[in-house]
Every structure is written in C-alpha cells, then in structure tokens.
Symmetry: C2
Subunit: 185 residues, 2 copies
C-alpha cells in the first residue's frame, strides 16, 4: 500500500481536509497500547486555535485510549483504504492490534504519542482542548497542534459515508474563487 | 431553478445527507424576519434523538435569528445552487432579503417557523437541543424533529467546501455493504 510523502501543513488551514466531510482514521496510544478507529462524525470548529469536534462512542476501545491520553491523530484516508476502513470498524482494539492486522505503518508523531498512519493522505496531531461534552454526547473538542499532508495529488480522493454500507467518493474539484468577497475567502 | 419534490424521511437516518459533509443552507425566522446562511461546519452527533452540531458564527445575522427563535431548518443544496450558496455567504441578512435576492422559494415547515427551501434536495427541521457551547464556540446542538427529502435522484450531487473558493463535487457512489458486520450497518 502506498505511503504518502507528507510535509508540514498550517494547522489553521486544516479545514481543507476535514470540511469536505471524509471518513477519517483516528489513531491513539495509551499505556503501551495503540489503536485505530474509523470515524465519520466530525466538524471543524475554529481556525485559530485550530479546533475540531468529533464523536467517539464510549463503546469503542479508542474512547478509553483517547480519554486517558487526552490525545489522538486524525488521519485522512483515500479510496485505496476504503475496505481497510470498513475492516477497522468491524473489530475492536480490545481483541486485535489494528496496525498489524491491517498492515498499516505507524509513524512517530511530533507533539503527541499517538502514531501517524503512513498510508493516509493527511495526519493531524490533536490534543484534547475541551471535554465538557464527553460525558453527555461522547463529543471531544481537539486542538490540532501539528499537521502533516501530502502535496500530491493536489486533491485527495477521499471517501464519505452515507450509512448502510454506502459511500460517496470525492468527485471533481471546482473553483468559485472569483465569486467570493475577497475578505470572505 | 428546479424544485425538489420531497417526502417524509426518518429523522434517525439523516446521516445519509449530512455525514458526507456537504455545505448546507440554514434558514431561520424570528420576529417577522427570515434569513439564510451558508454553513460548512456541522456534524451528526446521535441517531436518536437525531442530533446535529454546528457552528454559526456570532457575526452572522442568522446567529441572532437562530438563537432568538431556538429553531432553524438545515437545507442540503446540490451543484445547481453552488453559485447561489456563495452569493448567500457574501452578504448579510441585515441588508438583504435573501429569499428574494436569490430567488429561493420558502415553504412552510411542519414543526418550526423557519421555512424550508424548495430548491434544496433535503430539508431538516431543527429545534435547539443544547446551547451549552454557544457562548464559547458558537456551537449549537440541534435535534432534527422532522425531515423532508427528495427520492430522485437517489444520490444528490452535493457540494463540499475545501476553503479558498475551492469545492469538491460529490462523485460516484460505491457500496461496501457486504464487508460490514451486519449489526454495524
């Protein structure tokens, strides 16, 4: 499986990867264990600090690792990893070492202990910023403290979940830049 | 502009429209005023009750209408409305009647006072469920209390914002249903 060559990316601009709404792979590490989960419920919340909110259900093994470590990495996979993403969602890190099982390559992060996933297009190192809604909604608000992204291809072929096993694959790109008020870009 | 013929849709399944991450048009009504805003920062948070979280910046006129009325409608536009969505984002409801200006058709909702937009593929009637994070992050948690969706085409050509005037247009649909654990579908 292809490893994306990634370079530093400005954390204030990570909307580029998350706002279109792809499923992501959340990697985590705590007390000697690592894990990966597939997640589709996330939103950008602020540019600076760079905030992302997401739901990690308490039944997931990743919930314990993320809540315990107060960190994670949000990785953006492309179409090549669609079957892998489904497989990751089908099993639990309580039973399986997902990096080994799915032949994914952990890469040391810069600011958090959770590993990046080499096979993903972009990887966002996150620290827990606000846990106020964790108990009520399993909703974590993270600050992206470091971002890594591939520069090629320019627009990744991300995968977007509709439920019931159906995905939308990212299609063509259009620019309406000329229509925007310059200060609203 | 085409009016989508919509029928009732189960509120617990509205992930189908929002989880892929399209930009949406939020319509609102309060004290005799209506408004529309373009929004890209939203996430599904729960199936039942059907919860959606989203950021409506306090600088928007819609913030006042939504906060005041504690209601809105989240409408899902398709590619035909891409230029309209940008135009709606370029101006303020303080200065412009957006339904008139953009030739959009308000339709009476069932459970809220905010109007549905006839030209959108799906419309979700929402009531404010939790305002705890409004002051800190402009983050509203809504319950979808009634959903209306077109049945044709089966998969809407939604538009997904990458920032800087660039959009991704929804591409092909794939089903990986056979790979899922049946109880995880």
């Amino acid at each position: 499986m292809r490893h994306f060559k990634k370079t530093d990316f400005p954390v204030s601009q990570i909307r580029r990867f998350l706002e279109p709404g792809p499923i992501v792979l959340v990697s985590s590490a705590w007390k000697g264990q690592t894990n990966i989960m597939t997640m589709g419920w996330h939103t950008v919340m602020e540019f600076s600090p760079s905030l992302v909110g997401c739901v990690i259900a308490a039944s997931n093994h990743s919930f314990d690792l993320v809540k315990g470590s107060r960190e994670c990495v949000i990785n953006v996979p492309t179409l090549e990893l669609a079957r892998t993403a489904v497989g990751i969602g089908n099993c639990s890190g309580r039973d399986v070492d997902k990096f080994k099982e799915f032949k994914l390559t952990p890469v040391k992060a810069t600011k958090v202990k959770a590993p990046l996933i080499a096979e993903c297009y972009a990887s966002l190192e996150c620290r827990l910023h606000d846990a106020r809604l964790v108990n009520t909604y399993n909703f974590f608000i993270f600050e992206v403290v470091k971002a890594h992204a591939a520069t090629s291809p320019r627009n990744p072929t991300t995968i977007h979940y509709r439920g019931d096993g159906a995905f939308m694959v990212a299609g063509r790109s259009i620019s309406l830049r000329r229509l925007f008020r310059p200060d609203y870009l």
